[in-house]
Subunit: 408 residues, 2 copies
């Protein structure tokens, strides 16, 4: 197995110091699901009254645990709740056995944590199509349920990693009526990242007080501009899950509060960016900004066509301002475009305007931008007012090395 152990060059300097979220406890364990010698299970327990919202992969082959979470999400309950996640095996495409594994795990968590099974959410990430040895997970539940503490969120972030090269965390705190509301989130994901989410698991916790409908609306809305606006390789996981849990422990009601909405959005966006920054083999963080499209939806189609183009992603890896490939990607996207109204910039360097290379275009200046670590490609379609921004990374030899024998 080609193991790439170096941390992504795009990683943040350190895991952030996350605020304690009152009402949440974390514990982790070494269950040996697949990986040896590292934590691979994490349990988060949540106090009674915690409100849970989420968003999941739209894959037609999504995993049993995703289906189970989706079924439970809408059930109102004032009971305590728990989230149990394992890494190493995704329990996807595992047939009836996979459903039985979810049943066994959620039943066992409910028992040891003394809460209804309908309040237990579980996720699995790792290899697809291998039976999940769920007894290894249930065997550590007693220990997990007795060791939870409010300060172990970083350990939880590490336990859910697969090919990730760094643990991902983000936070926000806001003041409302003189009281502090905190948000802390963790994520995993580095390959198979695409629109409609990723091999990506995200758990965000807040002590805000909010009703389920309002929280779900915020999550669904921000999801489109954060986790559904990133792509590493256009591939979509069967397991993508985002769960947001609001314990209410701050006592601060945030329904309709725009500061809270912005804070939650910023945490989601930061985690989404960190997932891209850990894109397999990534050496450049790339922002694609499309303006002037026929609609926002068409702008996103253009942006994703650019972000998913192997020819563009390899050109970025080669630090080549190859804007002809951007023209190609706009042309193939299927959304409306007019060759003679198209304008393109790399960073602040305008390379093409109204369908032709810009007068005074400096290849030197464009190349200088491409040599940086943060690349911006701006495209104005010139036919309307639709806009979209998406994020991706470059396509390098590292991606090939990691994925040519990940499973072997």
């Amino acid at each position: 197995m080609a193991k790439i152990t170096a941390v992504s060059p795009l990683a943040p300097a350190a895991f952030p110091a996350l605020p304690v979220i009152e009402g949440v406890k974390f514990s982790t364990a070494v269950a040996g699901v697949k990986y040896q010698g590292r934590t691979d299970v994490m349990l988060a327990t949540l106090i009674p009254g915690t409100v849970i919202a989420g968003a999941f992969t739209r894959s037609a082959t999504r995993s049993a645990s995703v289906l189970d979470c989706q079924a439970k999400l809408g059930l109102a309950s004032d009971e305590a709740a728990a989230i149990l996640v394992n890494s190493g095996n995704s329990n996807a495409f595992t047939g009836k056995g996979g459903v039985a594994s979810v049943e066994a795990i959620t039943a066992a968590v409910a028992r040891v944590c003394d809460l209804p099974q309908t309040r237990v959410f579980t996720s699995s990430t790792g290899v697809i199509g291998e039976p999940l040895p769920h007894d290894r997970i249930t065997a550590v539940l007693d220990a997990l349920s007795q060791t939870g503490d409010a300060n172990s969120i970083e350990a939880a972030a590490k336990a859910i990693m697969t090919t990730d090269t760094f643990p991902k965390g983000s936070k926000a705190t806001i003041e409302i009526d003189g009281k502090t509301v905190s948000i802390a989130g963790i994520a995993k994901g580095s390959g198979m990242i695409a629109p409609d989410m990723a091999t990506m698991l995200v758990y965000i916790f807040t002590d805000a007080l909010i009703c389920q409908d309002a929280l779900q609306a915020l999550v669904s809305q921000s999801n489109e501009q954060t986790f559904n606006a990133i792509t590493v390789d256009s591939d979509t996981s069967t397991s993508d899950s985002l769960i947001v849990a609001a314990t209410g422990a701050s006592g601060v009601a945030v329904d309709g509060n725009s500061d809270f909405a912005e804070a939650l959005h910023s945490v989601m966006l930061d985690l989404a960016h960190q997932v891209v920054r850990d894109g397999e083999g990534a050496t450049k963080f790339v922002e694609i900004v499309v303006t002037g499209a026929g609609s926002d939806a068409e702008a996103k189609i253009h942006a994703m066509s650019i972000a998913n183009s192997p020819l563009i992603k390899t050109a970025i890896a080669g630090e080549d301002p190859n804007w002809g490939r951007v023209v190609m990607a706009v042309g193939k996207s299927g959304a409306a475009a007019d060759r003679d109204r198209l304008s393109i910039r790399f960073g602040e360097v305008e390379v093409a305007k109204n369908g032709f290379r810009s007068e005074g275009y400096s290849e030197e200046a464009a190349t200088a931008h491409m040599k940086g670590q943060n690349i911006v490609i701006g495209v104005d379609i010139g036919i309307g007012s639709g806009t979209a921004t998406v994020w991706t990374c470059d396509l390098t030899h590292g991606y090939i090395s990691i994925n040519a024998d990940y499973r072997s």
Copy 2:
């Protein structure tokens, strides 16, 4: 510039001996459009009465020469005709200057070949967005028009190459009423190959006698199952062109003749396969066969989702029978699927059936298939009778090396 000069390991042993097509002459020249020290322009002249059909990229940013060809295709004419192709510069996204270049080239060809400008078809392939120095092409037209001969089709195939590692040719001959009808075709293309064609130029010649409507119908129909059923990297060129010219010189009418239809299809399929076999960095030729989909169209969506998945293509490069990634690609495609009815095989090895790993699945046998050069991935969706077959290649370090600095 990282130049990969080795011939693709998937290349045919040799360029085939193509039959002379009566009524067609080929000539080539060194015009120095971009490349130095090699032929980069080819002219094919066609006798009066030649019928011309074609298919072109559907890119919204297609080049001036494509638009010009499309406009001329439907014009009935008994006059002679010509096809002029240059490599090195695609004259795409070159604004009004690009239109002027097409006008200058087609006018000059019409003049030196003494035929109407509406009967001159031109294509350009190479870098996008650089002004085409068309005077270098028109400067060699006199020589081209005087050196044509019926035997130089291989030289023509070489003159239109860009990143191709081998020239591509194919042929078919059929007997109808005791007379021979011949078909000979050439193609170029290796990267930016995707549905809706490719950075691909294809020229097929036959001495069959056929009306334009009938020829166009055959070309359009076969195109869907040949050139529109291959993908190297999901990227679509702005210049893709397929032109089929029937000189009628055999005197054999083939309207409605199924042998001719099959022969033309076989030449188109062979050339399409050769384009995949020259996929940038390719080491494996991959056939994706989808059955049991809701419709043929949905089968093709699934097949292309599999064929374009970077995770699947890198797994193939790594000789890893990673069928979980096939499940992923079916799930993300957007076409209907039922996880619990899905079956997958690699070659003759059934790996998954009805949503779970097959009983008696042998990883060893599947791996043995993956070590071959010709890979077959069969997927039965299990919900209907729709079928589709598409072809692709693996994704390797070679692709990254070629594309990270093709233009620099």
